[in-house]
């Protein structure tokens, strides 16, 4: 009888294991009679942290070198080869990630989400170019940015754009920046990384539409110099602000300008300011009145922008996957039966209640509401300031780089007949 009980005990033990406790195995590992040695799965280590730090060091070196080349050596050739190195190292070797442009989002996320810890390398990638720009101008764009490098190297026959078109398209980076920060701060998406047109080329691997986008940008870049930098780059907005107040900046001429106008066509980015035409200033159509009007309009622009943004927050927040899922489940309850909808099925099997999901989505939507107010207000401010800048006249005597928009690529210097 004892034997029989033992047998049943074994059976019940088996039953227990079959009953499927998460940690227990349904089929216990056999004990092998033959001398079997089980292999170990191969788990290669990730890239070492030291190499991340070396990336920062290389960035620092490249930035210093670019600044030296632009301000001291004044060598276009040197800058060209530096940008080739940047393209090869940060672009093709490091696959364009992490880059200073994308780091904007990491910084935004870490500011708004205390649960997210930013790595020190990412923060340095964000800060170093800005600090350098504050002292030396946008030498980062010329020498240290792989996205800038690939576009710069492909400039074939740049077309000149009228002022109004550049200014209007110049609003796009601000819009892109505010959306990128909004999406990053709400933990929705990193749109800068996702829609980076060149990263696919660096990786030699990308979804089809991104390949097409990247090639389109490069083809366009043959005639529209640096289209991404000028009309999209969100980080360029910050660099622009820094560069305007930079301590030192590339100058076209090493000595006094002789007003020969030779450099006037040299910049593919239309970033050379011409001397002001005294006659025109005298004949200016708009006086102080227009200036005051635009200045007073700024708070209204901010309010209108913020209001519009807050109105649009419902629509914009649908980009968040959680909000999208919650709304989908509310409006189309029948998707619960759709086995192909992986998100719905994963949610259903998670055992989470619908109410929790809706609550989470509402919290996110509220974040979007606040974020959209701020982003809208910011866009309003940008438009207001752009208008205001159009009625401000600053006397310029020489041909000089437009400090905000100049990438310090050193092209113009070779056009200047003044040496020393």
């Amino acid at each position: 009888m004892k034997n029989w009980i033992k047998l049943t005990l074994i059976f019940t033990l088996l039953f227990y294991s079959l009953a499927g406790v998460a940690q227990q195995q349904r089929f216990p590992k056999p004990e092998f009679g033959t001398g079997y040695h089980q292999p170990t799965p191969v788990t290669p280590e990730p890239r070492a942290l030291v190499l991340e730090y070396s990336d920062v060091v290389i960035l620092l070196i490249v930035l210093s070198l670019a600044s030296w080349l632009a301000l001291r050596k004044r060598s276009r050739k040197g800058m060209l080869w530096l940008s080739v190195f940047t393209l090869l190292y940060f672009g093709f070797y490091r696959n364009g990630c992490i880059c200073a442009i994308g780091s904007v989002q990491n910084v935004a996320l870490t500011i708004f989400d205390p649960g997210y810890a930013i790595s020190i390398t990412t923060l340095l990638f964000f800060l170093l170019p800005l600090v350098f720009t504050l002292y030396f101008g946008r030498t980062f764009c010329a020498g240290a940015c792989p996205l800038g490098a690939i576009q710069d190297l492909l400039i074939i026959k740049p077309l000149s754009f009228p002022d109004w078109l550049r200014k209007t398209l110049g609003l796009l980076p601000y819009l892109y920046l505010s959306l990128a920060v909004l999406f990053a701060a709400t933990g929705t998406d990193f749109i800068i990384c996702r829609y980076d047109p060149f990263v696919g080329i660096f990786r030699m691997d990308a979804p089809f539409h991104m390949v097409i986008l990247g090639i389109a940008f490069l083809l366009m870049g043959m005639f529209v110099a640096r289209p991404y930098c000028r009309f999209l780059c969100p980080y360029g907005v910050l660099l622009n602000w820094m560069s305007r107040f930079s301590k030192w900046h590339l100058a076209i001429t090493p000595a006094a300008c002789i007003q020969c106008k030779l450099c006037s066509d040299s910049c593919p980015f239309d970033a050379i300011d011409y001397p002001t035409d005294e006659k025109q200033i005298k004949n200016r159509i708009w006086g102080v009145n227009r200036f005051l009007f635009y200045a007073l309009l700024i708070p209204i622009w901010i309010l209108v922008g913020g209001y519009t943004g807050s109105k649009a927050h419902t629509w914009i927040s649908k980009a968040n996957s959680k909000v999208y899922l919650a709304e989908l489940l509310i409006t189309k309850p029948e998707v619960r039966n759709d086995d192909k909808n992986l998100d719905v099925q994963a949610f259903l099997s998670s055992g989470k209640s619908m109410e929790t999901l809706v609550n989470e989505a509402s919290v996110i939507r509220h974040k979007f509401y606040i974020g959209c107010w701020i982003a809208g207000g910011f866009m309003g401010l940008v438009i207001g300031m752009t208008l205001l800048s159009q009625v401000i006249y600053r006397r310029k005597e020489d041909y000089q780089p437009d400090k905000g928009n100049c990438y310090s690529c050193v092209r113009c210097i070779s056009y200047c007949p003044v040496k020393k």
């Binding site: 049943t8 074939i156 649009a312 629509w315 919650a326 509310i330 998670s350 929790t356 159009q390």
Partner: protein
């Protein structure tokens, strides 16, 4: 001249590399289109071939065809990958050459030109800029506003259609007339015929929403009333002893012998029937829905059937449970006024006897690797929930009238699947729970732990039993112990026969155990002396119960054996459900009620 030759050379290079790039790009595009169209790894043709094979499993021809096709598909996939990779590098190389050649050509062709005359009128440019910036601003505002009007905030449409309005009106604690359980009840025994007292018309006529709170008097059932009914799992106080007479000792499902009625139960469930008056309650659930059923006890007709849904906090999909636990393992409980049910989702719901929903709430989805199994128990105005999860162990006392938490006692120990029982010790009622590692008693009023003894082990399934002043608890691979709850000491223990699922039962100074390997053992309750052991071929999940000095046992094969409650083994009768039986029967008015996987049976003399 040299310049011209150079120009010609680079023009040719540019031309060749341009054509090269274009060709490679076109080939890549072709490859991409082919891959997205055919998807060799998800080939439908292959799937249909495999399906065909399952119909004619011995067709060697078909097998060969599948093998060839499979090889082809994999070849196509890896070839295409190789092509994309190689093509990408070729394109890159071509593009570099092309770009270099173009730059040289442009450089050679460029002449120093007279600079363009400056934009003569800066003012015109500035005016244009202002206009365009204004226009852009306006477009952005319009786009934003259009987006806002075109999009709807669906999140606001969502609301849990919960029964919270009822919560308020049902809370009338102050008016509750307290009747001491344990004293001879003043309430007439007429409860047998009409258990729903007129004072409890509270819920019966309640629509979903009630605006005014009617003055309601709720009275608690007395001891006699509780004893004459089956208010919870394993009878009054969950002790496995029924105070009924003339219960049937033989029946047969196949032939219909002594079967008064049999009714199908719509949804599956391992909960056992409970009875109050003429009503019998069950619940059932699957991973989509949960329901509570009320049957007429004499006819077997379903009186009402209510869904358990729209509960705040209830998970969208049921948690994972094992097949042998299911979603509605906990048995219901009732006080004659209301009936309460709980499910593996953590949903707990209260209906009145007519099926009107009084309250419902979700206690949180229990993290339980088999599924929540502990049955409900109640006394007076409290509903006891043994809320054991892998994360925390709790005994929760809910206000029966509203479902609000009256108290919550954190318990030490591990998760348990046993059910609470009530034991009257020193004139006061205690909730007794069996858990790894301890058996413990909690004050039924406050939930305070009164005593606790470490003597259990493992994943405890059997509930404790109370009799002869002792608490009996047991579990497979652990021990069978008898505890004196007053002195908090172990009186005796045995490790010979131990149940895995079925709970022990005691009466007349005897203790009975039914194990999952098919042994029924009888002990002396006081001393632990073993009187007799009966080996049945099949194991027991259904708890043995004692009715009228008879021990009713059902093995998992559905065979019933009735023994005399005595120091010697004596079989009084046998029965057969012809189905698997894992639930515990209920007895009332000379009849036995048994739930099988598909049916609910009423057994008795016709």
């Amino acid at each position: 001249m040299e310049n011209d030759a150079k120009l010609k050379l680079f023009l040719n290079i540019a031309l060749v590399s341009g054509i090269f790039c274009l060709t490679v790009a076109l080939l890549l595009l072709l490859n991409y289109m082919q891959m997205t169209k055919n998807k060799p790894l998800e080939s439908k043709a292959l799937t249909s071939l495999v399906k065909q094979l399952s119909q004619e499993p011995n067709s060697d021809e078909l097998k060969q065809e599948i093998r060839d096709f499979d090889l082809l598909a994999r070849k196509a996939y890896f070839n295409s990958q190789w092509q994309v990779k190689t093509g990408g590098y070729l394109l890159l190389f071509g593009a570099i050459v092309l770009a270099f050649a173009l730059r040289v050509i442009i450089g050679l062709r460029s002449k120093i030109e007279e600079p363009d005359i400056l934009d003569s009128n800066e003012m015109v440019g500035r005016l244009l800029t202002q206009r365009w910036v204004l226009l852009t601003g306006a477009i952005l505002v319009i786009l934003g506003l259009v987006a806002s009007y075109a999009s709807v905030d669906h999140l606001r449409e969502y609301s849990v259609n919960d029964s919270s309005p009822n919560l308020k009106i049902a809370d009338n604690r102050d008016k509750i007339e307290v009747i001491q359980v344990g004293q001879a009840p003043t309430v007439a025994d007429s409860a047998k015929t009409s258990s729903v007292k007129p004072t409890v018309s509270l819920g019966s006529s309640l629509p979903v929403k009630v605006t005014q709170a009617p003055a309601v008097k709720v009275s608690f059932p007395g001891l006699a009333e509780i004893k004459s009914n089956v208010p919870s799992f394993r009878g009054p106080f969950g002790n496995g002893v029924f105070y009924q007479k003339e219960t049937p000792v033989s029946w047969d499902a196949a032939s219909g012998k002594n079967v008064i009625w049999k009714t199908p139960v719509p949804l599956k469930g391992y909960n056992s029937p409970i009875i109050w008056g003429t009503k019998l309650f069950l619940s059932g659930a699957d991973n989509h829905s949960r329901e509570v059923y009320c049957y007429e006890r004499n006819t077997g007709k379903i009186l009402w059937k209510q869904p358990v849904d729209k509960i705040k906090g209830s998970p969208e999909a049921a948690p994972k449970v094992t097949e042998d636990t299911g979603y509605s393992a906990p048995s219901l409980t009732t006080d004659g006024n209301r009936v309460y049910a709980m499910f593996a989702t953590g949903d707990i719901i209260c209906f009145d006897m007519d099926g009107n929903r009084i309250w419902a709430r979700n206690l949180g989805v229990p993290d339980n690797h088999y599924g929540h199994a502990s049955s409900l128990m109640m006394l007076k105005d409290k509903l006891f929930v043994q809320y054991d999860t892998n994360k925390s162990r709790k005994l929760i006392g809910l206000k029966a009238s509203t479902g609000q938490t009256a108290w919550e006692t954190q318990r030490k120990g591990k998760i348990s699947w046993a059910s609470p029982i009530l034991a009257e010790i020193n004139g006061k009622y205690q909730v007794v729970l069996s858990t790894d590692p301890m058996v413990a008693g909690y004050d039924a009023d406050s939930g305070k732990e009164l005593w606790s003894l470490n003597c259990m082990m493992g994943e405890v399934g059997p509930s404790p039993a109370f009799g002869s002043g002792l608490i009996f608890a047991a579990n497979e691979y652990a021990k069978l112990v008898a505890i004196d709850p007053v002195k908090n000491v172990k009186v005796w223990e045995s490790d010979e026969y131990m149940p895995e699922v079925a709970s022990p039962v005691t009466a007349n100074g005897l203790l009975f155990i039914a194990t999952s390997y098919g042994v029924i053992a009888c002990y002396d309750a006081k001393s632990g002396q073993k009187y007799w052991v009966k080996e049945d071929g099949t194991g027991f999940y259904s708890s043995p119960v004692i009715v009228d000095n008879k021990l009713y046992t059902f093995n998992t094969a559905g065979k019933m054996k009735v023994f005399e409650v005595g120091k010697t083994e004596k079989i009084l009768g046998e029965g057969d459900a012809a189905e698997k039986v894992t639930t515990t029967p209920a007895f009332k008015d000379g009849r036995m009620y048994l739930r099988t996987p598909k049916f609910i049976y009423c057994i008795g003399k016709k």
